[in-house]
């Protein structure tokens, strides 16, 4: 082969290596950047007055007087909207009342039309929602159309029908509009307070508020006139209300949304320290974080003593032989067991076999098995890294083997053991499959801060709840920021643990270098 070709091959080989490294970094960025970018919006976002009202009312954070003045301001800004709606409603009511006269006239007739009308009119009730009454009359005129016997009545009924039809569409449109506005601004003044928390507040986030504003202004429709798939079209809602009192409402809302919601740049650190309200539509992820912390610490508690003892045995006492290599194979096999099999084993043995309750204890025991091999390996490495001279010095002073290990080797290896422990903590915090059957629940009370009370409590650990919320939540689209925030949080937790371990390791290697030279 020519030397130039060989050189080219050499270069392309190197560039393929570089390319794969670049690809790896790119993959990392592609995964992390969107998660962090959208996850950060869980904490830093444009919060509306509703967000502050929520915090004040539910978590008692914020200034009450400031809130009061803010509320007066937004009420003033919102007043025209509700006034317009009220005028419109009154007008519709008047239209309906005007129908009273011809209807009672009809009811006085002695034929079937009269009887039918009478029966229907009895169902009218001022206390019922307006739309229900409208619909009652609408049904009546609908039935009457089939009963008509003479021409002069027919015209009358048809006119009645047309009027009621118009009232009905207008009212329906109004109900839709009111619902859209309620979603944006929260319940109208004077409305009874809903039970469900998500209905008690308007949009707490400015980005969501703009989406909802768009829904107020436009109706989303799908156009199927073309062949193939439909196209999304937005129909201005104002078209439904041309020439009515409500027509100016849309312009007003579009220009005055800021006055009505008063967005402010908000740092909501409570995302990490608040409990969730109404299944993560409001509030933070503290219970999840706490659950993860408990599970992780529990796993460490069980795995570290056992792992360190095993490591001591392997590095200090074990003499090579069949038994030891067998034990080593066992441990490396344990490291290769798929995490779901651990979960399965936890379920079958701990829950079904030992009748432990589904909860933190069962979960941490299962997780302890997952991280045990990592701990044994890293501890063994750390112990082996302790220079021989240390041991020799201790032994020459007459210390027994055990004493040497406890007083000299372990303290010297402690940073290394700690590094391994911290890395396994990251692993335990991120694992999901082992805790699905053993510890996870969708909704559970926030764990108490007293560790002795939580052992039998199931918990919504962070990793599990990411899965659970993004596949199971009925309003997953509304809480995207929470989902991304949770994912970013769990990645950050694990990364911080790893960073900590890296720093620890760097310090050890420095120390070892310093001591050996």
């Amino acid at each position: 082969m020519k030397i130039t070709t060989r050189k080219m091959l050499d270069r392309s080989f190197s560039s393929f290596g570089l390319f794969s490294i670049v690809l790896m970094i790119l993959a990392l960025l592609v995964i992390l950047v969107p998660i962090f970018k959208r996850g950060s919006t869980a904490i830093v976002f444009n919060g509306t007055v509703e967000h502050r009202r929520f915090l004040l009312e539910r978590f008692e954070r914020g200034d009450e007087q400031e809130m009061a003045s803010e509320i007066t301001a937004i009420q003033a800004a919102q007043k025209p909207v509700y006034d317009m709606i009220e005028h419109f409603e009154n007008r519709q009511r008047k239209y309906l009342d005007a129908l009273n006269e011809p209807l009672t006239k009809l009811a006085k007739r002695s034929d079937s039309i009269g009887r039918l009308t009478k029966r229907r009119l009895k169902r009218l009730d001022k206390n019922k929602p307006f739309l229900t009454n409208v619909k009652t009359i609408q049904k009546l005129t609908d039935r009457l159309k089939g009963h008509v016997d003479s021409d002069n009545i027919q015209a009358e009924i048809e006119q009645l029908d047309a009027t009621i039809q118009k009232i009905e569409t207008q009212t329906k449109n109004l109900v839709e509009l009111k619902e859209a506005i309620r979603e944006l601004l929260g319940p109208a003044p004077g409305e009874t307070r809903p039970v469900l928390l998500r209905k008690q507040y308007g949009q707490t986030r400015w980005d969501r508020a703009q989406v909802k504003l768009h829904e107020v202004l436009y109706i989303e429709k799908w156009d199927y006139s073309n062949e193939g798939m439909g196209r999304k079209v937005f129909e201005p809602r104002v078209e439904h209300f041309r020439g009515t009192e409500i027509e100016p409402l849309f312009d007003y809302m579009e220009t005055n949304t800021e006055a009505m919601l008063r967005p402010q740049l908000t740092f909501y650190w409570g995302f990490l320290t608040d409990k969730s309200m109404d299944i993560h539509i409001f509030g933070g992820i503290f219970p999840e974080l706490l659950g993860t912390v408990y599970l992780t610490l529990g796993a460490i508690l069980f795995a570290v003593p056992m792992g360190v003892i095993a490591a001591i045995y392997f590095s200090e006492y074990a003499r090579p032989g069949i038994i030891i290599s067998f034990l080593r194979i066992c441990i490396s096999t344990l490291a290769g067991v798929p995490s779901i099999v651990f979960g399965m084993f936890g379920l079958a043995f701990l829950l079904n076999g030992c009748h432990l309750p589904k909860g933190v204890l069962a979960g941490s025991l299962t997780l302890a098995l997952v991280i045990l091999p990592t701990i044994i390996r890293s501890a063994e490495e750390a112990i082996r890294a302790v220079p021989r001279t240390y041991r020799e010095a201790a032994l020459s002073l007459g210390a027994s083997r055990w004493r040497t290990v406890v007083t000299v080797v372990i303290p010297a290896a402690l940073p290394g053991i700690l590094t391994g422990t911290v890395i396994s903590m990251g692993r335990a915090a991120g694992e999901t499959a082992p805790i699905i059957f053993t510890a996870a629940a969708s909704v559970a009370a926030t764990l108490s801060l007293n560790p002795l009370q939580v052992w039998d409590q199931p918990t919504q650990a962070l990793s599990w709840n990411i899965y659970n919320l993004c596949t199971e939540h009925e309003a997953a689209n509304e809480i995207q920021h929470v989902l991304f925030g949770m994912t970013a949080t769990i990645i950050l937790v694990v990364l911080f643990l790893n960073l900590f371990a890296i720093i620890l390791r760097a310090r050890i290697s420095k120390k070892l270098k310093g001591e050996t030279t």
Partner: protein, 291 residues
């Protein structure tokens, strides 16, 4: 060095003691009352909202909700690992027998009604299907949307996992039919994708133009389109009246009728209260009784 070491050993002792304390759970008594729900993801929104409401009302009570499927709910009730099994189907005969053999007497409370809307992507021009068409789609006889009046696009079937009551209901009401007086259960095509939850179905349908799926009434929003089935659109009215062909009751099942005044009793009768009904309605299901 030595003193430091002793301190460390003391710490080790403390940790060891803590570990011992953790594994001997009988030494302390529970201070809070606990209420454990297990079962359907369809009932999930109701159960979760009830749980939050109940915990807010009774601060001393821990309500835990697991959404792991109706089958799991039944299992937990039989194993006595939960107080209330929330199920989107009734207990099967086998489960009932297992329960009775274990001394558990299942008592069902119908908390709400639910329809199973058949969902497609909103860009899909298909507006209505018959039960037979849905059956043919899911059994793999119809594979393209143009066979039911839609565009030329291969159908992506999405089904709930087999451990869900939603799946069982769908299977019973859609996939089972009578030919010459004989009941035939059609199998759902192997090509169907399985999703572990109602929300998952909606997520998949809203992001897949060619998809068809089914989920609980409470999971419909603007991002998916519910189809008319046999010319009936799933609404609260058509579900309550039973006109909509795929309707079902949702159950909470307890072991025996709960003692009056117990938390279990208060919880399973929450649906009778006005607040409870409002919650059910707001979440998108149909309350059983209307005052």
């Amino acid at each position: 060095m030595k003193r430091l070491n002793q301190k460390r050993i003391k710490n080790l002792w403390a940790i060891a003691l803590l570990a011992v304390a953790l594994v001997t759970p009988t030494t302390w008594a529970k201070e809070t009352d606990q209420l454990v729900l297990d079962g359907s993801t369809t009932l999930g929104p109701i159960a979760k909202a009830f749980a939050e409401y109940y915990m807010a009302k009774n601060p001393g009570v821990n309500v835990t909700v697991n959404e792991s499927g109706s089958g799991n709910g039944a299992k937990s009730l039989i194993n006595r690992t939960c107080d209330i099994a929330s199920m989107s189907r009734f207990m099967k005969a086998k489960e009932f027998i297992a329960a009775v053999n274990k001394g558990v007497m299942p008592v069902a409370h119908v908390v709400a009604m639910d329809g199973l809307p058949v969902l497609v992507h909103p860009s899909n021009p298909v507006k209505a299907l018959t039960v037979k068409q849905i059956r043919d789609i899911y059994s793999g006889k119809i594979t393209n949307w143009n066979q039911v009046g839609g565009p030329n696009l291969a159908i992506v079937m999405i089904s709930r996992d087999t451990n869900s009551g939603t799946y069982e209901t769908f299977h019973k009401l859609i996939m089972t039919h009578k030919v010459d007086g004989k009941k035939i259960k059609e199998k759902i095509s192997k090509k169907a994708e399985y999703v572990g939850s109602n929300g998952g179905i909606r997520t998949r349908v809203q992001s897949t133009p060619a998809a068809i799926g089914y989920a609980g009434l409470g999971f419909i929003d603007k991002t998916v389109k519910a189809l008319k089935v046999n010319d009936i659109y799933p609404t609260r009215e058509t579900v309550t009246s039973g006109k909509y062909p795929i309707s079902r009751p949702l159950f909470m099942i307890t072991n025996g009728y709960p003692k009056l005044g117990s938390h279990t009793h208060a919880f399973v009768t929450l649906y009778l209260s006005e607040k409870g009904q409002e919650i059910i309605e707001d979440i998108g299901f149909v309350p059983v009784t209307k005052y």
